[in-house]
Amino acid sequence: MEKMSRVTTALGSSSISGRTMFCHLDAPANAISVCRDATQVVVAGRNIFKIYALEEEQFVEKLNLRVGRKPSLNFSCADVMWHQMEENLLATAATNGAVVTWNLGKPSRNKQEQLFTEHKRTVNKVCFHPTEVYMLLSGSQDGYMKCFDLRKKESVSTFSGQSESVRDVQFSMKDYFTFAASFENGNVQLWDIRRPDRYERMFTAHTGPVFCCDWHPDDRGWLATGGRDKMVKVWDMTTNRAKEIFCVQTIASVARVKWRPERKWHLATCSMMVDHNIYVWDVRRPFIPFATFEEHKDVTTGIVWRHQHDPHFLLSGSKDSTLYQHMFKDASRPVDRANPEGLCFGLFGDLAFAAKESLISGDASRKPYPGGDRRYPIFFFKKPNPTEQFAHVSSALSVFESSVESRHMDWLVKTARLYLLSGKPFAELCDHNAKVAKELNRPQVSTTWTMLRIMFSDPANLSTPGPNHIGKLGTLPLMNSFSMKEMGTGLVAEGRLERSKGESRQDNLHLEPGNSLINSNNDENEETEGSEGQAEYMFGDAELDDDDLYSMEHENHAAEEQEYTLPQEAFPLRHEIMDNPSAPEHLQQDKADSPHASGNEAEVMCLTPIESFSLISISQPLFSPHLPAQFFCPVVREMLIHYAEQGDVQMAVSVLIVLGDRIRKEIDDLTQEHWYTSYIDLLQRLELWNVSNEVIKLSTCSAITCLNQTSTTLHVNCSNCKRPMSNRGWICDRCHQCASVCAVCHHVVKGLFVWCQGCSHGGHLEHVMNWLKSSSHCPAGCGHLCEYT
């Protein structure tokens, strides 16, 4: 009640107005505080102690409290507070351990009134009682909090935090006798001012120092704390145990936290290091700041709301020697800038896409979907809360599932598994890989491998390993390879169209079976066009440039889908492949398809030239086999880059590894590294650990090979006491027993340990193997019949 009346008077007497403004201070500020009627602000720091008047348009320096020729350390302030009841009363905490009070009503230049030098270390915080005029509390590095009665020369009571440094003390706004103190060891204590012998309650709030705390101005039980662990936590103190009710994770250690007046859920924070911004959080939306003030160039050291009942003005002081008044309406709202779309691939190639509904519907009006059926219903729907000032955003989450999609990765997996990258002569590797590619219906890749072999093999060796093969290819007329290519691209073009068609159909099936099944042919065509736009979401721009018709993935799709969607291409394909007896599977497969007459010949023709051009240049040297291998390097380089750009980084990396030194110098290290990382990433996503490791091992980039050195830690638990064993794997710290003793030789096993899953005895791999050759019982004598396979 009392407070309410004060509110009205306070607000009634002077309605605050102003704008975002700042002024330069002479020195970095450590803390600021504002007087009760919000007309003046005091700035304190190591070399500054001034009072500024807040005027409509600017700050005006009113008073410099730092007087004297050689100001003492008592002026070097770590904290400052203006009394909220008594307009002339200020208190500062000095870095040398002094607590000083100042009376502005004093006529002399030096306004210093009282000096308490009871603390032995730096005083981190001073705090006036919110309603009691003469009561001042201080918290110091020496681990003590002292309560001063300003009418006396000494402290009236001392509270010991058990030798831990006090970082902040705050009187409760509502409970007359209670104050909270936060400590360097992560604890927060609640004290009753009348009982200096023992704290009322203590709990661990953070790991590492708790730099600040702040009582909620309206809610009796809420205490916000901020710590070095980059968290702001809100505690409900009304219950028996302090309960964490909100937690905001920031990006740097939290130096100050201040509840926003008149906004129950809002608080402002600033950080101790690295981050210079001031954030205002809605504690219910802890992932993105409600508002941000980005004016400061160095860390913000003090923040204070200008008036205790006006949420629109925030004052801040900073190490960059400026004092700012921020208008809330000028704050930047990170929400507005946040990316409204999210995109993620699932493990099996599913794609989830979330976007603001408005964006989606805008899109939809441009390209109508068949009934908007590509979307799952929205999963997360938050009821709009009128008290929350967050822009209400509803997002639509679409999940694209596609079995085509999963098969789409099949070729990559198979290829990755089957490719040989080392361990055989170069020519054999190429042959092998060519075969693999062929078996997977990837003729272009296959041909590339063959060509690489021809180009880079030593002419002398060339004839020896496989005369029949070489002979055949060697005599292959240029025209032949040309048309093969042509066929390939034809496939691509058509395949792509068809694929998208198939895909959309499938989605429809999945999502709204009734609707899409009845789609007429016409509809389907339209839909195909539409779905191209859709497909952009799925594969990113890189692959979907319209010129990009030769993408390997697409080609592959085509190849795989031809069984049921692409009958037209079977015809030319069969003819060409006929020449090449090494791919009989193709033949059969293709034959099985119905040889529809293709109406697409023309299209195929017009699509080919660009690509086949480069092929001619590659195939030309077939006729002059004595050219040095370097001659091809530029071409191969272009080829690799081409593959990589098409998204087939697998090919690029595989060729890079197989060719090794022959090509490495041609391609700059960064590109190589990029390819490697992309490929390894892919492999690891597909859980092809062995292959990825092989690639890492074979790579020559130092940045890649060192991947193998990271995270090679293996955590083991002791077999006796089940505790984790810290830094050696074979003896336990706690029970001092060797954890893994070989049951056969009774020595510690430091290498491979094999054990029976039945009785969990085991030992050196070799010993156990030998043992179980002669005996079927467990070597430990437990009687279990162990098996070794």
Binding site: R46, L73, K120, P209, M272, D320, Q709, R728
Partner: protein, 472 residues
Amino acid sequence: MVRASSQNGTKTCNWGFPPDLGIRIPRPLGNGPSRFIPEKEIQVSKVDPRTQSIFEDAFAALGRLDNISLVMGFHPQYLENFLKTQHYLLQMDGPLSLHYRHYIGIMAAARHQCSYLVNLHVNDFVQVGGDPKWLNGLEGAPKKLQALGELNKILAHRPWLLTKAHIENLLKAEEHSWSLAELIHAVVLLTHYHSLASFTFGCGITPEIHSDGGHTFRPPSLSQYCVCDIANGNGHGNHPEEKLGNHQEVSGEVEVLMERMKQLQECRDEEEASQEEMATRFEREKTESMLVATAEDDECVPSRDVSRHFEDPYGYKDFSRRGEHVPTFRVQDYSWEDHGYSLVNRLYPDVGQLLDDKFQMAYNLTYNTMATHKDVDTSMLRRAIWNYIHCMFGIRYDDYDYGEINQLLDRSFKVYIKTMVCSPEKTTKRMYESFWRQFQHSEKVHVNLLLMEARMQAELLYALRAITRYMT
């Protein structure tokens, strides 16, 4: 490496083996892990179970138990922290590759001509696949590491000169530039090894005996410590009567010190020095610390083979003679707990915490004993030592009365501290023995730990402040 060792071996100390046979027989020098501390004080077989298990850990992790750990074994709690941190810095995930880490260790140790650490890490460096060519000198190392040379130099001798520009130079985007995370890792390693070098010299750590395959590294730098010298009275053959005489002479030293501490505690409130006085006291202590002769003896520093290449004439000595002004660094404006920690932890996760634990452990470690007295609150003494070291680096605590230092630390102790922190290679057994004569060896090692950690923190503070300034 092998080359170096064979050279050194033959050149320095040929009493151990007949030169005509050309066979070198590695043999222990026989005076334990430290030249200053009698061997019987440090015996692995006698340690308590806790220390034992830490030793075991250390052995398991490194395959050796180095003399540093043995000496630190006096303080198992600290040792545990120390080893954990060192293990993390050298072995665990981090931005720098393993051989870089060891090489940086070598660079740092070589700044103080600490052949002990250099040898240790040369071994490790080669083991993790480092290029032996680098060991011929910084010129042989990659440009990137060469760039670090300047930082190493400044950090080791005049960290207050470190500016934003130095950091900028290292980080500017070009081929041999550092990333911030790498730089932090490097800085932590550098400071770690600078201060460890202090400890090594301060405790007179003797070189390791690697008996496997003749890998005995005894560079000429150690010649002065080899058995020949020890026989000449530099070793453990201390004459008992001399010791006794010392005892009588200084008996009561501890009592005096305790009395002073008590006085300071009591009269702190009544005698309140003016602020100007406080400031003068700090300045006086700072200047004085400059003038404390680091080496009263003019004993020449023998040339050191391994570190030869890393050196250049740039030492603490150069400026201290000239009395260069060290600017004051206010710890209240940039402290480890508030600022340094956050920065390190941000760029090199977990290390901030590890270092924090280590600093706190070193600062708060106490057994409440002083020499033979029990239940003594030593916090005041520890704080005086810590702050004195920071004072030498120009780091000032506003809330500390530097007059206390004068009361608590006598001149011989100051000489020792000063030498150990600023030019550790000049520490002698005499200095070690002449301070705090009644105290036990474990207590002197404790002091050394304090010195080491305080020095590390001081260097780190300067480096991190420069990095922070670069970042803002």
